[in-house]
């Protein structure tokens, strides 16, 4: 029997729904829900994690992330402007830096800042303690990525914008500051927010610097609890704690993009 086009489409759609329902049903029936609940959802353990996971761990994760992001943003913008400079040595230095730090694991750079520098210069201290070390250690890597993003954003602003600004009598610097860079940052908000989300997760590397009860962040806190209670529930809670940060961020980006879409 030959099916007509609409019949074929209906059949195909029906099969796809059927497969979906079958898989869900199989998982629901096959899973050992009591054991899963016992391993991942012990209410007493969840309760014991509060309020510390919010007041200390989440707070520190946010602080480390913002510190690294701020450092990376400022340093990355400088690197981006150096890459676009008319002075050749500036371009060389910026290019070399970006290539180097994009090629190194963030963990290695963090070790370098956390242990290498203190060994090399024992009489000096990185300001801000663990916070400072993490902000710089993660920020050095983030700056390399952000520099490339910002440079692309500046170059994505049409040449006519700079020309129009200059013909109105603005200096190169004023035109850059009031016309080009504001537009460039609108272009790079989505990729920069991506970088912020990546940094949120990278802040979990802080444990290698030997954090204390005051400087602990989400992942280390979850792992300590895991060891303490021999139960996986803390990992689930830690994961949710990260989502509390990253999901609203995506929302903020969506809002900003909508608002700027009007002005482009």
């Amino acid at each position: 029997m030959k099916l007509r086009r609409r019949q074929r489409e209906r059949l195909s759609l029906g099969i796809q729904y059927l497969v979906f329902i079958a898989v869900i049903a199989a998982v629901l029936f096959a899973a050992d829900w009591d054991r899963l609940a016992d391993a991942f959802f012990r209410v007493d353990i969840i309760k014991s994690m509060f309020p510390t996971i919010i007041t200390v761990a989440l707070r520190n994760t946010i602080l480390y992330t913002l510190g690294a992001f701020a450092f990376g943003l400022v340093f990355g913008t400088i690197l981006a402007l150096m890459r676009l400079s008319r002075v050749a040595p500036y371009r060389w230095v910026a290019t070399a830096y970006i290539e180097l730090f994009r090629g190194l694991p963030a963990l290695l750079v963090l070790f370098l800042v956390g242990y290498g520098i203190p060994i090399a210069f024992p009489e000096r201290q990185i300001p801000g303690g663990v916070f400072g070390s993490i902000a710089i250690g993660l920020g050095l890597t983030a700056a390399a990525y952000m520099a490339e993003t910002i440079r692309a954003g500046i170059q994505a602003v049409p040449k006519g914008q700079m020309e129009a600004a200059r013909t109105l009598g603005m200096s190169h610097f004023t035109a850059m500051r009031t016309i080009v860079i504001p537009q460039a940052f609108r272009i790079v908000i989505p990729p920069l927010t991506n970088e912020l989300i990546l940094l949120t997760k990278d802040s979990s590397l802080a444990y290698v610097l030997g954090v204390t009860a005051q400087t602990i962040e989400i992942t280390k806190f979850g792992r300590d609890m895991l060891n303490d209670r021999v139960n996986a529930t803390p990992l689930l809670v830690a994961g949710l704690a990260y989502l509390v940060i990253t999901l609203p961020l995506s929302q903020v980006v969506r809002r900003l993009e909508l608002r700027y879409a009007k002005a482009r």
């Binding site: 049409p158 006519g160 020309e163 109105l168 009598g169 609108r186």
Partner: protein, 279 residues
């Protein structure tokens, strides 16, 4: 070369410009008197836009000298930002600042460059918006305007700096045909108000009606110039005639081979012989 006051608004002597091995301007001598409206016409690639951009130093001349309002632009020590304050530039692609409202497009340079206060800058901006018929668009963003409105806003932005000279680089070439008229009307009004204007354009009717002088360029040189009725009405040079017949009657490319003939009446539509020669 001696010049007696008042100096021309634009004075160009033996201007050459090359892009790599490509010589775009091959020795241009050219003047625009104060209050004069000059239209520069010519085929694409003739160097007319490059010439205009050299006047504002958006392109660095390879050789030759340019004076604008008596100041030598080609002097390596020229305070180019200061000279540009006296020159308005209107681009083919408008180049409004998309992140600013129309009003702020008109005030930002007044405030940053001329150091005018907000109230004064906005008063001047609104007066210029009225001049181009965009009073109600002050708070809109450029993306919310039609092409013709954007170009008029761009003209108002230049006028807000109170320039002595306005340069137009094919201001209507990016516009839908039905929007061209609004922009040309604004430009015509500007000309009637006595503004010194140098206009690179393909709008022959505008050149004929508004220009004091038409300059025809081809192949990087000025081929001929004079009052519009001469250059456009009775061109002396073969190249000018060929160009005009192409612009005014685009389907008759076939005539290029015999440019000395007087223009024939347009061929009846659908003649197969014509089709062979279409580009």
């Amino acid at each position: 070369m001696t010049t007696t006051p008042p100096r021309p608004a634009v004075e160009i002597r033996d201007l050459h410009k090359s892009f790599g091995p490509l010589e775009v301007l091959k020795g241009i001598d050219f003047e625009v008197a104060q209050g004069e409206v000059v239209c520069v016409v010519g085929p694409s690639g003739s160097g007319k836009s490059t010439l205009l951009r050299c006047v504002d130093l958006l392109e660095e001349p390879t050789a030759g000298r340019i004076w604008v309002n008596g100041v030598e632009m080609t002097d390596p020590d020229v305070e180019v930002d200061a000279v540009r304050r006296g020159i308005g530039m209107v681009f083919q692609s408008f180049n409004l600042f998309p992140h600013l409202t129309v009003l702020n497009n008109l005030t930002i340079a007044q405030r940053r460059v001329l150091r005018r206060g907000r109230a004064e800058a906005e008063r001047i901006a609104r007066a210029n918006l009225e001049r181009v018929g965009l009073t109600d668009k002050a708070d809109a963003f450029p993306a919310q305007l039609s092409g013709g409105q954007q170009q008029r806003a761009a003209i108002a932005r230049s006028l807000s700096m109170e320039p002595k000279l306005m340069l137009f680089d094919e201001p209507t070439s990016a516009l839908d045909p039905e929007l061209v008229g609004d922009v040309l009307t604004v430009m015509r009004q500007l000309a009637e108000d006595g503004m010194t204007m140098m206009v690179v354009t393909h709008e022959m009717a505008f050149a004929r009606d508004v220009a004091d002088r038409v300059v025809f360029m081809d192949g990087g040189v000025v081929v001929e110039q004079g009052p519009p009725q001469e250059v456009l009405g009775a061109p002396k040079h073969e190249r000018t005639r060929a160009f005009l017949s192409r612009v005014l009657d685009p389907t008759r490319v076939a005539q290029l081979g015999q440019p000395d003939q007087a223009p024939e009446p347009p061929a009846a539509p659908g003649l197969p012989a014509d089709d062979r020669h279409r580009i």
